[in-house]
């Protein structure tokens, strides 16, 4: 049980650090939102499930389950409203033009 919990915690921390590194290194806002939202939700899920396995009593499991379900639902919603607001206020994404695509007149 402790071994499984440690494995889940390790995986969650790896995802967390990778996501934060992606937010620091990616070239554009929209790519950073993708890195932050995906890795953040999954890392939170893994770390909270890893903590659920070593919790002392059942009440703590319920509290962790509440935070887990909340962040599972709210994380993608938050990133969606952020990107929608940025698009509405005309934040232009960085697009790399391909010669073949631009000459075929989409």
């Amino acid at each position: 049980m402790t071994l499984l919990s440690s494995g889940l915690l390790l995986m969650g921390c790896f995802l967390c650090v990778t996501g934060a590194l992606g937010v620091l290194k990616f070239p554009d806002f929209y790519t950073r939102v993708h890195a932050a939202s995906v890795t953040d939700t999954l890392a939170t899920a893994m770390i909270l499930i890893g903590l659920m396995l070593i919790s002392p009593n059942l009440f703590v499991v319920f509290k962790l389950l509440f935070i887990f379900v909340f962040i599972l639902f709210i994380g993608p919603v938050a990133s969606h409203i952020l990107v929608k607001t940025a698009l509405k206020n005309k934040l232009v994404p960085v697009v790399k033009e391909n010669e073949k695509v631009s000459s075929s007149k989409l």
């Binding site: 967390c16 937010v23 620091l24 932050a36 953040d40 770390i47 607001t85 934040l91």
Partner: protein, 95 residues
């Protein structure tokens, strides 16, 4: 293992703060602060287990809710022209 996880999440928080300081647009900063808040929730939960007091989970729950509500609250002001992003770098325009 728990203490190593605390250090890893702390490093992620420092990187999110770096993006909040560096980020060229406003939305980069909002994203970084939201990320910082979610990592703070995880850090509080982990520190509660490290110290042997799982009662810190109440604070983590409240902070997750506050993080989301503050994100929605600051994005409500986006209907005005304050948040509009200029590409042409208008120098002489006042609000």
């Amino acid at each position: 293992m728990l203490i190593a996880a605390c250090f890893a999440i702390f490093i992620a928080m420092i990187m999110a703060m770096a993006r909040a300081i560096l980020g060229p647009s406003l939305y980069d900063r909002i994203l970084a602060v939201n990320l910082f808040g979610t990592k703070a929730v995880l850090l509080i939960a982990l520190l509660g287990f490290v110290m042997g007091r799982p009662e810190f989970l109440d604070i983590a729950m409240v902070y997750a809710l506050i993080n989301f509500i503050s994100l929605v609250g600051i994005l409500r002001y986006s209907d005005n022209d304050v948040f509009k992003v200029d590409d042409q770098q208008d120098q002489g325009r006042s609000e």
